[in-house]
């Protein structure tokens, strides 16, 4: 048997537009595809001048040897990434990084996804479903046009809810409102939740943690720190959890949400805001939006 590891081609073999500026890309990387587990991420670099971008592995297909990433084009690098056509290739793809999700078997878990965080919650829902856990999935967005992965998550969830801030789909309000109702009815039915997993923008994760705290329900969040290497070498991804310094790339990305210092995380996430705006502006000027991209 030939045991040699062949460097993966990192070729983009599939591309699906999921929503405005949200694209799912499938990349050929057999060894990452065969060993990644829910909750893990990769770091990609598009080209020689590109930055290293951490992205959760949304899904994988071990048979085809592909991993799927769901990318929201917010800055220059993510826009570059989500405009890559099928047939192009990523310069670098490294992973799987981070610790996998602790998957509860045959339990009861609420999975809450907000905005692009829904892409991160999806593989966790899939893993919990496979572990025969009762999954309550709550997916939220600002409006119905921004909802993603509804058709992928719905069949895996035992209970499924949608919320939008403007009420254009599902319940009008926040995911945390829906979660509160779910917690209460679960308790009333004598089937309390073992855990809540909440992934999305920082204010949403904070709101969910505030909602679960009085009930003492373990709440796991996934932090989207700024990263460079993803191997514990730089400390750029550090966050305070329970008063201790953690490196999100190797100690996380998932942590006990009740112990995370969200204020600090918010400020650290803004470190490069002006730089990012400048880079995006220059990029948009040289790459006018493609009318055919959606």
């Amino acid at each position: 048997m030939d045991t040699r590891i062949r460097p993966p081609s990192n070729a983009v073999v599939g591309r699906t537009v999921l929503g405005p500026d949200v694209v799912r890309i499938d990349i050929e990387s057999p060894f990452i595809a065969s060993r990644r587990r829910a909750g893990q991420f990769v770091i990609v670099r598009v080209d020689e001048r590109g930055e290293r971008i951490p992205l959760t592995i949304a899904d994988s297909d071990a048979r085809r040897g592909t991993v799927s990433l769901i990318v929201q084009g917010v800055g220059k690098s993510t826009r570059q990434l989500n405009s890559l056509p099928v047939g192009s290739r990523l310069l670098d793809l490294v992973g799987p990084l981070g610790r996998p999700t602790h998957v509860i078997e045959r339990g009861r878990v609420a999975c809450v996804g907000g905005g692009i965080g829904t892409a991160v919650i999806f593989p966790i829902v899939k893993a919990l479903h496979a572990a025969e856990t009762h999954v309550i999935a709550i997916v939220g967005a600002r409006n119905k046009g921004l909802l993603i992965l509804e058709d992928d998550i719905r069949p895996l969830a035992d209970e499924f809810f949608i919320t939008t801030d403007d009420g254009s789909r599902g319940r009008k309000g926040f995911v945390s409102d829906q979660l509160l109702d779910c917690i209460k009815s679960a308790q009333a039915a004598g089937t309390p939740l073992d855990e809540v997993i909440a992934i999305g923008p920082v204010p949403m994760m904070r709101a969910v943690c505030n909602a679960t705290r009085p009930f003492g329900i373990k709440t796991v969040v996934s932090l989207n720190s700024i990263m460079v290497d993803g191997t514990g070498m730089c400390g750029g991804c550090r966050a305070s959890v329970g008063g201790e310094m953690k490196f999100v790339c190797v100690d996380g990305p998932e942590f006990d949400g009740h112990a995370v210092d969200f204020d600090e995380l918010t400020l650290r996430l803004q470190t490069y805001r002006e730089d990012e705006q400048r880079a995006l502006k220059e990029y948009m000027e040289s790459h006018p939006p493609d009318p055919h991209s959606h």
């Binding site: 040699r4 290293r52 793809l93 490294v94 191997t231 070498m233 750029g236 190797v250 400020l267 490069y272």
Partner: protein, 476 residues
């Protein structure tokens, strides 16, 4: 023939002028000309007991290569050095010669020592220029294939040495590197102005031409484990040289403010990711106008000089001991001075203060004095109570040392490590507690030097060769 009087001082190395260089990332030292090289080589008195050789961690035959240089045979000198040191262009630039060969040079008793490092650098650069790029240099003959396969984990100087030695002995070698570029600290840590990346690339390309396979973007412990390398992936031996890559942060208030970096992050952004060209390269970096770098080693020196080049009007180095105790290379300290770095010796940070946006705005320092000598004989600094004061800064870089990265340890339970997480390895062979697994460089010694990492690599290469040659013939 009358003997001409000995020149007492080293020939100075021509440098970019301090004013202009502190605004660019080009190499500071330009190197000797052939004439200066011959003149410097001529200072060596070819003394009989040649203490310099013993002072060199890899025992380069220093008087022999200097003799060749004196006679103008620069290529021959380079070959002589390469018998013992595979990376002379690197070592000539970054070795702490003032603590090694030059410290014990006979001339140093009365005058300045022979500029051994500068001569080494000249010979290596001369040879490279003659080779006309990567495909010019003639390749040495390799031993016939042995069919044995060796995996090197990490691509710093220790692994590069092992890979080069073993590939020549006919083994198949794969180097796995977590980052997207091979070279270890030589590419992500040490800045361009001190070690041009083209030099490191030249060495990596040379090894690749010899047949070493480089697999970048593979994190051992995550992408594959050590057991998988030895098992289903079919490697006969593994050499671990993952460096000292876990940054330490001081436990002081404000350490997580935006604008506080580890030196690793700061230097990686600048060197590996080329953030100094932002937005041409996409990685951003905080460009401080007033910067405080904490520490006294090479990492601190590289960080503070990078800050200067990124536009800092005030770039200060804060070190808790005195200048004599700074572990940085002497030449770099001198260069830093010339570039206008502010040295604050005997000071230690007590807190970092932020503005309402969570960005650094000042640092509080406390004055220190040297107390009684500690167990190591060094006088340890003690804080002077009540001497705190604040300095306005907008960027703080922590260069206060690094520990061992736990990724491999965590996934290789039978690999014995000490209480700091460094791998325990036999100093003569690099053998670890795990069969077929060897280790060397900073992951064993803790943060040390390029040449010591290479020395450890050379010893391990010998032991690995012996180990795989004695393995029973594989069946099936």
């Amino acid at each position: 023939m009358a003997k001409k009087p000995l020149q007492k001082k080293k020939n100075p190395i021509p440098c970019q002028e301090a004013g202009s260089r502190s605004a660019n990332f080009l190499e500071v030292a330009l190197g000797y000309s052939p004439e200066i090289a011959v003149s410097e080589a001529d200072r060596c008195i070819q003394c009989k007991d040649q203490p310099c050789v013993a002072g060199c961690p890899v025992e380069i035959d220093i008087p022999a290569f200097i003799r060749l240089m004196r006679d103008g045979d620069f290529a021959g000198a380079a070959r002589k050095i390469k018998e013992k040191n595979a990376l002379p262009a690197v070592c000539g630039r970054v070795c702490p010669q003032e603590e090694q060969c030059e410290a014990v040079c006979t001339l140093a008793k009365k005058f300045e020592p022979v500029g051994i490092g500068r001569l080494e650098r000249f010979a290596a650069d001369f040879e490279a220029a003659m080779a006309h790029g990567a495909d010019g240099a003639p390749l040495p003959k390799k031993a016939p294939p042995t069919g044995r396969r060796i995996a090197c984990v990490g691509s710093g100087p220790a692994s590069l040495t092992v890979a080069g030695d073993l590939v020549l002995q006919g083994h198949e070698v794969t180097v796995f590197e977590a980052l997207h570029k091979a070279g270890g600290v030589l590419v992500y840590g040490i800045p361009e102005f001190r070690l041009p990346k083209a030099i490191v690339q030249r060495e990596v390309d040379y090894l690749a031409r010899l047949g070493v396979e480089f697999q970048t973007s593979v994190v051992i412990g995550k992408s594959f484990t050590i057991d998988e390398l030895l098992g289903e992936l079919g490697y006969d031996a593994v050499f671990i040289a993952t460096g000292a890559g876990l940054p330490h942060f001081m436990k002081i208030p404000g350490i997580n403010l935006a604008g506080v970096y580890s030196a690793n992050e700061y230097l990686t952004r600048s060197n590996l990711m080329k953030a100094y060209t932002f937005p041409e390269h996409a990685t951003p970096i905080v460009r401080g106008k007033r910067v405080a770098v904490i520490g006294g080693g090479n990492t601190a020196m590289d960080s503070v000089r990078t800050a200067r080049r990124l536009g800092a009007e005030e770039a200060r180095l804060v070190y808790r001991r005195s200048r004599e105790e700074m572990p940085a290379r002497k030449e770099e300290v001198e260069h830093a001075h010339e570039e206008g770095i502010i040295f604050m010796m005997l000071h230690n940070p007590t807190k970092i203060l932020g503005d309402e946006k969570g960005r650094v705005k000042a640092i509080e320092l406390i004055k220190q004095q040297l107390g009684e000598p500690d167990a190591s004989g060094r006088r340890s600094p003690v804080a002077i109570p009540g001497s705190e004061f604040t300095v306005p800064v907008d960027l703080v870089v922590m260069a206060v040392g690094q520990g061992a990265n736990p990724l491999i340890r965590a996934t290789t339970p039978d690999l014995k490590c000490n209480k700091w997480g460094n791998i325990e390895a036999d100093p003569e062979t690099g053998a670890t507690s795990k069969k077929g697994v060897f280790a060397g460089g900073d992951i064993v010694s803790g943060g040390a030097t390029v040449i010591l990492a290479m020395g450890a690599g050379r010893k391990s290469a010998r032991a690995i060769h012996k180990y795989v040659c004695e393995l029973p013939v594989r069946v099936g």
